[in-house]
């Protein structure tokens, strides 16, 4: 694997492929990566990022983040902003797992207090937060209740005792995008999602107990502002999305778009996974509205999971969640398309920003940030592989170069099939235990697919985001317990 000929170094960790790289490119490709990460990147990342550059209405560049890897349609770690009048919306630029994201919550406990109880804690979390293939959640919802979840997101959770007002403040979009309408969602998607609220899913979805060691604090002042104040403080981080509901919404609209492209919009695309429709068309607007339902479902899903996590901590430590200081740091999404206003060539323009495996990272002072982050910038939560570590970062002004987007995780380097052959799940479990990480998994074969060597080096990815000016390091967390879906 090597970067293609014609790639140009723009800055220390910024690279560019010109529009001459392949026919039909409307804008150049900008890749954010260190030389090392660029060298390791799948060849397909370059081809896919170039394909994205051919989409109608794309503004500026087709971007890739330092954790970019080969996906379907867009690369994972791809960002593309579209003009709202002339541009398209593409489900393949968002991913099937709409609004998949990361949530980070604090505790006032230390590693010394939690380690002796880690088995009890992880076993209880494994019991209480359903994970794995085809699981159902504990929240029983009728059809109209589920429509309320889709249209109200975390607000629904607040009204039903699963959230606090502060949780909403600490969630991107306050956990609800306005304009979601369950009528734009197929009965099939509604059926698929109705029983899945409060479930983790499988694959790379997980829930971790992590520690902020003093040597992991990169920026003590910012860390304190985000609530990391004591040595060896324990936090809870988890990664999941909109479950079967979001997957079905994406599947349904992919077909709608394929059909409409041919019969109505006469759009030609290079790869069917880039199926798209003009944002202002009926199909485009219907998908945007349905996608908002999946975004809200996903925020509600992570909120209900947090509620369960708090119950488990309360049962294990015999203190209330408030007393345990179990406040949220933030909830970020990394599979979305959002309307945002950005400055382009000195002019403020409304853009539809697709982020697929990329996290929004707003800079200090940006109007959409809650007041408590006005000076710090947006917290960004980056999940590493379960063997390595995870990060809390913050948005920075130089993020304007990527429409304020940064990495989302470590990014795979090895296929699941290969990882499964190379790392037997039970061996990995023993190795993790030897490293002080207690794991419960719904699937040991699935566990093997998530082995550390199947991913890029998370430290290298985060360093690259720092060097490229996309975000800044605040805290590195080390896992001590993991529930794997």
């Amino acid at each position: 694997m090597a970067a293609p000929a014609g790639i140009r170094r723009v800055d220390e960790a910024v690279w560019e492929l010109p529009p001459t790289f392949r026919p039909g490119m409307r804008v150049p490709v900008r890749l954010f990566a260190t030389e090392g990460l660029l060298g390791e990147m799948d060849e397909q990342v370059f081809a896919q990022a170039a394909n994205v550059a051919t989409l109608p209405g794309i503004v500026g560049y087709s971007f890739t983040m330092p954790d970019a890897h080969w996906g379907y349609g867009f690369p994972i770690g791809g960002v593309a902003a579209m003009d709202v009048e002339t541009g398209v919306i593409s489900p393949g630029g968002i991913g099937f797992d709409i609004n998949c994201g990361m949530r980070l919550a604090l505790t006032d406990l230390t590693e010394e207090e939690v380690r002796p109880r880690i088995r009890e804690l992880v076993d209880a979390l494994f019991e209480r937060v359903p994970a794995g293939v085809g699981t159902k959640g504990f929240v029983k919802l009728g059809e109209s209740d589920f429509a309320d979840v889709l249209e109200q997101g975390t607000g629904w959770c607040l009204r039903h005792g699963f959230a606090t007002e502060e949780d909403l403040d600490r969630t991107e979009e306050r956990g609800c995008l306005a304009g979601a309408d369950a009528a734009k969602v197929s009965p099939r998607a509604l059926e698929r999602g109705r029983n899945q609220l409060g479930t983790l899913g499988s694959g790379n979805h997980y829930l971790e107990i992590q520690v902020a060691h003093p040597e992991g604090i990169a920026d003590p002042a910012l860390a304190a502002r985000f609530g990391i104040t004591r040595p060896n403080q324990v936090v809870v981080m988890f990664h999941c999305g909109s479950r079967g509901f979001g997957h079905q919404v994406a599947t349904d609209y992919l077909e709608v778009f394929l059909h409409a492209m041919k019969t109505k919009h006469r759009l030609e695309i290079i790869d069917r996974e880039l199926a798209c429709a003009p944002f202002r068309s009926r199909e485009g607007q219907n998908y945007f509205t349905a996608m908002k339902c999946a975004i809200n479902m996903s925020f509600a899903n992570r909120q209900v999971i947090l509620h369960r996590v708090r119950e488990v901590f309360e049962a294990v430590f015999h203190r209330s969640p408030a007393d345990l200081g179990m406040e949220m740091v933030y909830d970020v999404a990394h599979n979305t398309a959002k309307l945002e206003t950005h400055r382009v060539d000195g002019e403020r323009r409304q853009l539809l920003v697709h982020r697929k495996g990329a996290t929004r990272a707003f800079a200090p002072g940006m109007p959409d940030l809650p007041p408590e982050f006005a000076e710090t910038g947006q917290p960004v939560i980056i999940g590493g592989s379960m063997e390595t570590g995870s990060y809390l970062l913050a948005g920075v002004p130089s993020g304007a170069a990527s429409f304020y987007s940064t990495a989302h995780g470590s990014g795979r380097t090895m296929s699941r099939t290969k990882a499964r052959k190379q790392f037997p799940g039970r061996d990995l479990e023993r190795r993790l235990l030897a490293h002080g990480i207690y794991v419960r998994s719904a699937s040991y074969a699935g566990l093997a697919e998530e082995a550390g060597p199947a991913y890029k080096d998370i430290d290298a990815v985060v360093e690259a985001t720092d060097r490229a000016g996309l975000s800044r390091r605040v805290v590195r967390f080390t896992p001590i317990g993991n529930v794997k879906g």
Partner: protein, 141 residues
Amino acid sequence: MPYEFLDDGVTSDVTFHAWGRSLEELFSAAADATLNVMVRSVESVRPLETRSASVEADALDLLLMRFLDELIYRKDVEELLLRAKELHVDTERNRVQTVLTGERIDPKRHELVADVKAVTLHDLRVERSATGWDAHVTLDV
């Protein structure tokens, strides 16, 4: 086992190649490959429940996508792991009619692996081969 998982597919997903002498055999193999992503042994799924399904699409490859989507849908909605017992593919109408058999997910009986989120259109192919039919499918997991 008329299918194989490819090592060099999309890194974050699972790509399989399935084959059969007829379209019926091909679709049935693709169903088992999809099931095999979720459960380590397809043989561990007993034929205790029966469902029928009829699926139509604009093209043959999209028909395979829709057929596999039906299995994923029933896995989430009814918690059923299913295999194709009977299958008829009508190429004129791009329609598949099938009888599916299987059982409810039971982690004690089924060694579960990874949930399948969706069938992607990434390099999705249904093609004639020298001996019958071939398909390449990438699943999002």
